[in-house]
Amino acid sequence: MNRIIEKIKGITWKYYLNYIVIGVVAAVFSALTFAGALPQSTLYLLERMTISIILAVSLGLVVGFLGELSLGHAGFMCIGAYIGGKVSVLLADALGKGVVNLLISLLVGALIAAAAGFIVGLPALRLKGDYLAIVTLAFCEIVKSLFQNTSEESFGGPLGLRTPRFDKQYLFIIGFVLVLVTLAVIQNLLRSKHGRAITAIRDNEIAAHATGINVTKYKLVAFVISAAFAGVAGVLYSFANNNVQAAVFDYNYSIEILVMVVLGGMGNITGTIISAAVITYLNTTLTVVLTGNLAVLKDLIYALVLILIVVYNNAPALKNFREKYNPRKFLKALLKLTHPESKKYADDEGAWARVPTKIEMNEILSTDIVVNESTKNPDKADKGE
């Protein structure tokens, strides 16, 4: 008996916080929906939230932990949505619109998206920073364009693919289960030697090479897993909607996901989940509240909030102010949760202002048409010492 208690005490609760909170939220809402107490709009909102969370957490793996900037997440989602949607259409006759169909579609959609991630990642991950960003953005636009130009029989062309909608009442529960699966896979990966290798690449790629980390392999692993879950989110999207239209998955959508990751805190999964949920909620609420003439204010408000939050969170000049009026500190003081030991404990999820992202390329402003600088001026190009 004592041993069991010891064991429970030994568990790092922090590791399981995400699961517990999401599990509780899912359980509460499931209970409510079984009781019929939830309006449809809430169910839709929850569906959208789960999709956003899966997208944001999976993109967070690449941006927050691998430190590479990808603007093509919506492209993988698009692949997942179309492929998964198509599979579900083909299976709908034989298997109906139930869970079995959903599972098979999810599997196929995720696999194809992962394969796309592999095909794109293999060459593209040689590029760094902004170059990778633009290549992924380009990939996203190419995928969109290709699906738009398909024939009506295959993927519906510009009209989009008609997909069977899953039961509205319960889809969000599957969404939450998928969020938990996503979290389990990504957190388990990160909290292992492989996760350390990925974080090491983010922190210092050169040192990671020198420490024997197979950088290419781990970049690909992170990229492929991230793509696979974008595919999962896409399949979920195809089940949450009656239509999959490629136009939705443009680079603006990728940027929206990136915003969730960045506002949530780079390399902070809990923060990413919260920001994905809050941003989705905010977007939905603004759409609902701002009707008629006020609708144009939506983007304005969104933009202003975005700029203010980012400047407030990051401006070096506001550092003292931030530390003085830290809401988290305030909350902790209020609940007296600060333990003298807790300050010593630090996780890998460092403050994100410090987390390096390799999006700076050190390109210099150049005016000469010199094809290869290093041949002309070797000691400048490489100061080996």
């Binding site: 809402f29 062309g157 510009p158 989009g160 949760l337």
Partner: protein, 408 residues
């Protein structure tokens, strides 16, 4: 232990807070507390397609105001009820429809105008079908929009526009070089093009030239170049790119060529700063409305619109006219229903309204006199009726916005 307890407490509190945020009392008939009949629409009010959604919103509001004035005055045949109109922004994206639809529905919308554009409309009609909400869409012209019994269109369906245009071409443009200029990533454009090509005579289809563009493109120099030898250029696109093509085509496309479009071309002569008379070619389109109309009921409506809204920033187009007709058609149908002894009030559920309205719209003797379609009545209105499958029956008109001027 204390710490864990505090954390647990926090969690419970947070969950409770969230739940209270989301849960409404499990009421299914949201219209119960309405004081007016609520008509809703989901359309692009911001973003690239907003010009269409805003026209719908404005024109529908004009109709609502007029009806309410009549109702307020009372009198024989009135319903004795007021109307209310809500427009929510879907940004021309299907993704947003679940939000706009459910918020409309739960805020007590009883009758809907569906969506302004087709892409989100495909989502809207499914959701509306599940709840049995009546749809009379002003401008979502996709063939699949009126798939279910509760959905009707005020505009011509894409396939009808394509085949009707082809019929006209077969009759009038034999022996001419035909060209098509379409938008390859838009269902409206590709839909019309497809049925147009299907219905076109083989003799015309031979040697047909095509050029296309995509969302965001506006430099049409190569497309103009590709189509410059054509005698008739079919343009199943909206008026903005069409006007850009015509501007580019000045002096390159043959002066005696004909630009021929569908309802999307309406509004081309009303673009602020674009002088259509400087286009040497003939510009005409087959549509149900001409926002440059100078006679009939259309003219009266246009004047009303322009008096109420800024012509430059929120210009009228056929979307608006159709929306105006939609609201009036619903009102007329309700009057017919009342005359037929149906009972309803401001709190009647959407499903009941749907039943009532569907019955009227599919009945053989319901004809609505509107501003869209060919003016055949003495007061300059048109006759509009609906087929059982939701498509509109009214006479299309070939509007010649501008005839060819050999002088220029």
């Amino acid at each position: 232990m204390k710490k864990t307890f505090a954390k647990l407490l926090c969690l419970v509190l947070a969950v409770m807070l969230m739940v209270t945020c989301f849960v409404s009392c499990g009421e299914t008939n949201y219209a119960e507390n309405n004081t007016k009949i609520k008509i809703g629409v989901s359309g692009p009010l911001s973003g690239g397609a907003a010009v269409y959604g805003i026209a719908v919103k404005n024109a529908a509001q004009i109709a609502i105001n007029e009806i309410n004035a009549i109702e307020a005055a009372g009198g024989a045949g009135t319903l004795g009820m007021q109307f209310e109109f809500v427009a929510k922004d879907d940004e021309h994206k299907a993704t947003n429809v679940s939000t706009t639809y459910s918020s409309l529905y739960e805020s007590g919308m009883q009758i809907s105008l569906g969506t302004v554009t087709t892409a989100p409309g495909l989502e809207f009609k499914e959701l509306a079908n599940d709840d049995n909400v009546f749809i009379l869409t002003p401008s979502a012209s996709g063939d699949d929009i009126p798939e279910y019994d509760n959905a009707f269109q005020m505009c011509f369906a894409d396939s009808n526009q394509g085949s009707a245009s082809a019929v006209y071409f077969n009759e009038n443009y034999q022996g001419k070089q035909i060209g098509i200029f379409y938008k390859s990533d838009e269902d409206y454009s590709t839909g019309i093009r497809k049925t147009f090509l299907d219905a076109l005579d083989a003799s015309l289809k031979n040697g047909i030239k095509e050029a296309s563009f995509q969302e965001g493109d506006n430099d049409f120099s190569s497309q103009v170049e590709a189509l410059k030898t054509c005698d008739v250029i079919f343009m199943p696109i909206y008026y903005t790119p069409a006007s850009q093509f015509m501007t580019k085509g000045k002096g390159i496309v043959k002066d005696d060529a004909i630009y021929y479009g569908c309802d999307g071309l309406d509004g081309i002569d009303a673009i602020d700063g674009f002088d259509i008379t400087t286009v040497p070619q003939e510009v005409s389109y087959l549509s149900h409305f001409n926002s440059g109309a100078t006679t009939g009921a259309a003219k009266t409506f246009i004047d009303k619109y322009n008096a109420a809204y800024n012509e430059e920033t929120e210009p009228l187009n056929q979307f608006g006219a159709a929306a105006y007709d939609c609201v009036w058609a619903i009102y007329e149908a309700l009057k017919v229903a009342k005359a037929n002894g149906k009972e309803f009030d401001v709190t009647t559920s959407p499903a009941d309204f749907s039943e009532i309205l569907t019955e009227v719209f599919t009945s053989d003797n319901f004809t609505f006199h509107g501003v869209t379609g060919k003016a055949v009545n003495a007061d300059g209105t048109s006759n509009i009726s609906w087929s059982d499958d939701g498509f509109v029956n009214k006479e299309a008109v070939k509007y010649v916005v501008k005839s060819a001027n050999s002088a220029q």
